[in-house]
């Protein structure tokens, strides 16, 4: 009997593809007997085109149906199959069969009764010589794999026959089988629907074959199967659909007793796979991964429906499927091929930093020597103190202090930790056997580390070694940096060192997820170390987002780790009405004279004139202010000259950074939030100046790299003057005439420290007479304060808690002739020792307060005088016993909230960390814009490092180190991350000044060279 073939065509949009598809159907040499067109949300065009062909049935639905549902809707209008030979031909608007396709397919069905489903060879719509798909199979573990994907059709697969599954477009399926199998599984709307159909057909005893002679051009427009374009959004959707389909199939195919186990494994698997996705730099897929797991887990009855359908039609065992699965050796072979391909891509893409070739090694060596010369007296000491430095706690306590929970400072309270403590914990873990030692290392390595950061940041802007060296030198000898080192301000030092690296990472973020994640971690660390930079950096980030085009995807997450770390603190500070206190510098508040605007403009954050006042007064009759100013001018002029360089945007961004940093510094001098006794310490202006200096450095790099002759001389001159400018400051450091000092390992008398060995919670009430005649009374536990105990939440609180007031009452009465029971100090706070620190200076009020307290404490029968110590006069409570209950840290102080906050923070930081591990070489799509040959045009020929390896033949692989994104943190919006087809070159706005004589030395430039 003559088989009846009904073509079911699913149409979304009209247009060229549809008309070609309709033409192709009409042009078949064996035309279908009937044509059912299913219009799903079709436009008027499509309707008109469909009406013109005169289909047997037109089914129209207003809702958006999946291909399977649409076919089902079309099939519903058909009569029951008259015979076993009747078949359905499933087509989509974008699948145009060759004229002989149907004949070939039908012939297969007719010759082999066992074949229930026959599929064509799908070829690319625009490039019919390439195979888009030829069957689909799955691995032993059920992973769906194409048998052939994206291969040039040279007839190499024309012998294929039996397969496990197919792509949905163009398949011919026996109508009876279709009904028996209940069509496509509605739980698999886009991906693996035809694979699943094939599997079920196979289990029902049928065969599924491909017919390579039947060719169907297929455009993957998203009607049948997922849309195949390369946009990030489609890719993420595809990945999610594929994962959801895989999970659904797993639950549908698994033996019944393992289904609950599989169900339970879905979420843990999603977590593991997310880790892997981070490592392979595909963070965008992670939400889909979880969404797929969750929708599959809570998909209601879909799994049971699929299982029922499968069971009802099944006639053979799974062994019928096994031979058609992809064999393990084939899986392995494909994996190896992918790795090879990745390696190949990565090789052409390594950043040509030319570290040694452009003198980076010499810069590092020089910085190391300078650091040793400055801090020679620090070498060999086990700790460092003075200024804002205190020892660090032991390893475990250090990490405990980094988490939300008990803040062991003063009377103690439960609250958020400063994010800076997290930075300290990371640092302290480097020398976990003695965390305090890391501070010595930090001070010794700060200079080289900062120099390298600036060197690498500059390497994104220029290839000339001398200019990179200039950036490193100017940045390493920046006055705010040396001041922070001299005044022992750990936060400011960390911020300065990391700012250069942050710039480097953010430049790279335009093209790489790993760099973006590194940048986000550095961003968090910089803001943790210098919260006053947060407003400026957030403004810079928003500007960067605005101007970076497609790269904004990777920049968008930049502040996430910083936000997650700081959020508990933000909530608490805002909650108690002191949002300005968020700007407080972490660590010990260190006061000092307030600098004038002039001093700030010279980069001097601590008043004074960089040591020139003392030096100049003795030597020559010159105003030290003039000397200090003149020595900064070369750098400033070099930076301002950046507006002359081609590429005004970079210059503006760099100079904008200067303005932001300077504004931060000026504002910092007007904000005083940290409270030390009767004094309020202003925010350290040096952090803002560091940011300004970064802008100056980068602007100078931009302007000098635009100079074609004599740039080495200019760099040398600017660097030399910058070094001369800080000579007095450096000398002061080198002779250790600064607050920084080799460690006092302790801040309490040895007697107390000895007691702390056996009683770690021994509590000392420290009384410090103040210049207004008042008394600062604080509690210290164990062997004294540590840097990680410090909490800005405590320092900036303008309200006293009940415990604080009680402590004040106890201390005030101890310092007076009083009827109050002195044992209250032991009872309420576990105080074992009272330390009366000597009054600072010759302040009469303070001396009187000291004398008063001394008399009162001396005359107190509850106290036993221990004697005079280096830290003041010490008394001991006769009744105090070791491990006073009142001195203990309450158990589980943070509670569930602390655990929750810590968990979230750890997850976010770990995720950023995983993403930042540079495993993405070759995995990430190459998002770099091909060299425009502009920003570095002069470099190739004259720079110390001729661009070796840049004149590779593949334009896609041209490495770009020089004309990278703009200055920190605003990368140029130049890159098109995901798609090369849609890339739109960003035109330079500056006119090219003069014709370049040496363009011949340039690497091959792709066609977007501004047309000039």
């Amino acid at each position: 009997m003559f088989p009846r073939v009904t073509a079911i065509l699913v149409v979304h949009h009209g247009g060229d593809r549809l008309s070609r598809t309709l033409d192709a159907i009409r042009a078949q040499d064996r035309t279908p007997d009937a044509l059912v067109v299913v219009l799903t949300q079709a436009d008027a065009d499509a309707r008109a085109q469909v009406a013109a062909v005169g289909a047997s049935h037109v089914v129209e639905t207003g809702e958006s149906l999946s291909f399977g549902d649409a076919v089902r809707a079309g099939e519903r209008v058909l009569d029951a199959p008259a015979s076993d030979a009747d078949a359905l031909w499933l087509l989509a608007e974008d699948s145009a069969p060759d004229a002989t396709s149907l004949r070939a397919l039908l012939a297969t069905l007719e010759t082999a009764r066992s074949v229930a489903v026959a599929g064509p060879k799908l070829v690319e719509w625009d490039e019919p010589g390439r195979i888009a798909a030829l069957g689909r199979t799955m691995t032993r573990l059920g992973r769906s794999m194409p048998i052939v994907a994206d291969e040039l059709d040279q007839g190499q697969h024309d012998g294929s026959s039996d397969v496990l599954g197919l792509e949905p477009a163009g398949i011919l399926v026996r109508h009876t089988a279709w009904q028996a199998l209940d069509g496509f599984d509605p739980a698999l709307p886009t991906v693996d629907d035809a694979l699943d159909l094939g599997v079920r057909a196979r289990l029902a005893g049928h065969r599924v074959v491909v017919v390579p002679e039947a060719r169907v051009r297929f455009a993957a427009a998203g009607v049948a199967g997922p849309p195949g374009d390369g946009r990030g959004r489609s890719r993420r959707r595809r990945a999610r659909a594929a994962r959801a389909a895989a999970l659904h199939r797993r639950l549908a195919y698994a033996p019944a007793w393992t289904v609950p186990l599989h169900w339970l494994s879905l979420l843990p698997l999603a977590v593991f796979r997310s880790v892997r996705l981070l490592l392979t730099k595909q963070p965008g897929v992670i939400p889909g991964e979880f969404a797929a797991a969750l929708t599959t887990m809570f998909s209601g009855l879909r799994v049971s429906r699929s299982r029922r359908v499968l069971r009802s039609a099944r006639t053979t065992g799974w062994s019928a499927v096994a031979p058609l699965r992809m064999q393990p050796d084939e899986v392995r072979r494909r994996r190896q091929a992918a790795t090879e391909e990745r390696k190949l891509r990565a090789r052409g893409r390594t950043d040509e930093l030319q570290f040694l070739g452009t003198g980076g090694g010499w810069v590092l060596l020089g910085a190391a020597v300078a650091s040793v010369a400055l801090f020679s007296w620090l070498i060999g000491s086990t700790g460092v103190g003075g200024g804002g430095l205190l020892p660090l706690s032991g390893f475990a306590e250090l990490w405990r202090n980094a988490a939300y929970g008990w803040r062991d400072v003063g009377t103690g309270f439960v609250g958020a930790a400063d994010p800076f403590v997290g930075v300290l914990a990371v640092l302290g873990s480097l020398t976990f056997w003695s965390p305090s030692f890391v501070l010595v290392l930090a001070w010794l390595l700060a200079l080289p580390a900062a120099a390298m950061g600036a060197w690498f940041a500059a390497s994104r802007l220029t290839e000339r070694g001398s200019i990179r060296a200039l950036a490193a030198i100017v940045w390493a000898v920046a006055p705010p940096f040396l001041t922070a080192l001299a005044e022992a301000r750990p936060g400011a030092v960390v911020a300065h060192v990391l700012l250069g690296w942050l710039a480097f990472a953010v430049f790279g973020a335009a093209t790489s997820w790993a760099a973006a994640a590194t940048g986000s971690l550095l961003f968090a660390a910089v803001i943790a170390a210098a919260p006053s930079l947060a407003p400026a950096l957030i403004v810079a980030w928003m500007v960067a987002l605005a101007v970076s085009g497609r790269a904004a995807v990777r920049l968008a997450g930049l502040p996430i780790p910083a936000l997650v770390l700081a959020l508990p603190l933000i909530v608490e500070q805002v909650g108690r009405g002191t949002p300005m206190a968020l700007l407080a510098d972490p660590g010990v508040p260190v006061g000092g004279p307030t600098p004038t605007v002039w001093q700030l403009a010279l980069g001097l954050p601590s008043g004074g004139w960089g040591g020139w006042d003392e030096l100049v007064r003795d030597l020559v009759q010159l105003d030290p202010r003039i000397v200090a100013s003149v020595l900064v001018l070369p750098l400033v002029f070099a930076a301002l000259a950046a507006v002359l360089a081609p590429g005004i945007r970079r210059a503006l961004l760099a100079l904008g950074t200067v303005v932001l940093g300077f504004a931060t510094a000026v504002a910092a001098t007007h904000v005083s939030v940290a409270i030390v006794g009767p004094d309020v310490v202003p925010v350290w202006a040096g952090a803002g100046l560091s940011l300004a200096w970064l802008g100056l450095t980068l602007a100078a790099v931009v302007s000098i790299s635009a100079v074609r002759r004599g740039f080495a001389l200019i760099s040398g001159a600017v660097a030399l003057v910058s070094i001369v400018a800080v000579v007095p400051a450096a000398v002061v450091i080198a002779i250790d005439d600064v607050p920084l000092a080799p460690a006092a390992e302790r801040s309490l008398p040895a007697y107390v420290v000895a007691r702390a060995d056996s009683d770690p919670r021994v509590t000392t009430l420290r009384m410090q007479p103040e210049s207004d005649g008042g008394m600062r009374a604080t509690l210290e536990h164990g062997s004294g304060l540590t840097l990680d105990d410090q909490s800005t939440l405590d320092q900036t609180s303008t309200e006293l808690s009940a415990k604080d007031e009680e402590l004040a009452t106890v201390a005030g009465n101890l310092a007076s002739r009083s009827g109050l029971d002195p044992e209250a100090a032991v009872r309420e706070f576990g105080v074992a020792f009272v330390l009366l620190a000597p009054a600072r200076g010759d302040d009469r009020e303070a001396l009187q307060a000291e004398a008063r307290a001394k008399t009162a404490l001396d005359g107190n029968p509850a106290l036993v005088a221990v004697g005079r110590t280096d830290f003041g006069t010490l008394w001991r409570f006769a009744s105090a016993v070791p491990d006073e209950p009142a001195a203990r840290i309450p158990a589980n102080a943070g509670g569930w909230l602390g655990a929750l906050i810590t968990t979230v923070q750890v997850i976010v930081i770990l995720a950023a960390l995983l993403l930042s591990i540079p495993t993405g070489a070759g995995r990430e799509p190459d998002r770099r814009m091909p060299r425009r040959g502009r920003g570095t045009r002069g470099d190739g020929g004259r720079g110390p490092s001729p661009a070796v390896g840049e004149s590779t033949t593949e334009p896609d692989e041209v490495s770009e180190t020089g004309s990278g994104p703009g200055p920190e943190p605003e990368p140029e919006p130049a890159t098109e991350p995901e798609s090369t087809t849609e890339s739109e070159p960003v035109p330079e706005q500056e006119p090219e000044p003069e014709p370049e004589p040496d363009t011949a030395l340039e690497p091959a430039s792709k066609g977007d060279d501004d047309g000039r």
């Binding site: 303008t798 604080d804 201390a811 310092a815 007076s816 005088a865």
Partner: protein, 482 residues
Amino acid sequence: MAADRRALIRGGLRALGFVGASALAVGLLAAAAAVTWPDYRAEPPSVVVQPAESRQQRVCPGPLLTLGADAAAATTVTSVGPADLVTAAEPADAVLEQVPLEAPGNAGGAADGTPIAIAAEPGGVDAGMLAGAQSQAVASETLRGFAATACAEAVAESWLVAGATNLGRSGLILLANPSPVAATVDVRVFGEAGAVEAPSALGIIVPAGTQRVLSLAGLAPNLVSPVVHVTSTGGAIAASLEHSVVIGLAPAGIELTGVTAAPATSQVIPGVPVPQSGGVEATEDHADGDDHPAVRLFAPGGDAAEVSIGVVAESGVGGGTIETTLPPGQVLDVPLGTLDAGTYTIRIESDAPVVAAARTTVGGAQGQTDAAAPSDLAWTVATAPLLDSAVVAVPPGPSPTLHLVNSGGSAAEVTVTGAGGERVVSVPAAGAASVAIDGDRVVLAGTQGLHASVSFIGADELASMAVQPPGPLDSPLQVYPR
């Protein structure tokens, strides 16, 4: 040509851009400097702690003592009769307790009494509203004269500016420890030649509730102008110094001096009684003896001090200013010049902290013969400014007079309530006033910042007694718990 012009224009634009950027930078700097940006300043939290009420206490030094009255025990001290003790408190009906201290060094303690600690119940009186004073007139072969002393708080550091140990003069340092813990006391003596080495005076233990007596001559013999610095750790000490004079064979006066005000660049000695006109010019190099009004000065800082001494009569007439330089580390006695009889206020301004007290005598004439020897002497010490109210105990003595000195810039109205009722005394700005006292208790109100003393002037008796504010130990204290 066109290319040249374009290059020119381009160059010009670039220069303009550079100038513009520089101008912008300068403008930004100027804006940052010129604009007064608002300040954000957190307010440091603090608690003013009012010490819980405790027992207020004053220590009276006890009867006058003499050294070596018993030839068999020349180094022991013996009391010469009992002293008259009066106490005063506001409110008047406050319950006061008198606790006698041990005086193991005094052989006559059993008969003549011992030092007394006066104490009020906790909360019984406000700070400073408890006073005690003692007076005693003696006339023996070796001692003659009248001494009046206010009972004092025990403190950790005291300066005694009085005494002499040259021929005929003797001095005793009385250290009373009323507190419940033993005190370790360091006594340092400075003289006209500088600090006196006296290791035996360091680390003296004064047991709780006990008075110890040291001979000043034993520590620092043959000093004309001693200044004694007493510091204690452990218990607090109420220190006083007994200064007696014998000229030839005749006793020529006695005084029991309390603690003078702590070192400061500005000192006020109120109510220095000068019963007879006369004196020695300040420029006199050899102003020997002690029968002329003089002021004793010492700068503990160890540096030379430029000192200006203003001597103003209470009536406002007479007096003058003496400029002098204190040699570093040395004590200087400065004669106050020829003064008319009356009461004087001495104001001392110095460029370094100094301690000061003034000495005056009564009776006798010029000259150094036995017959012409003065019959009594008095040390008037510098006082600290009073609080708003004070209570003064006035012991028996000849014509007690309260002197009030106002060193402030505006006149003060002081309410003086004595046995005779309430009087309002006006003390002019930068001036002084005096009030004759009847009765043994005077309550002062409106005395904020004023200095006060009580003088006793008889024909051959002279004494002066400071009215000191309470020590800082009871005053409120500002505590910063951060």
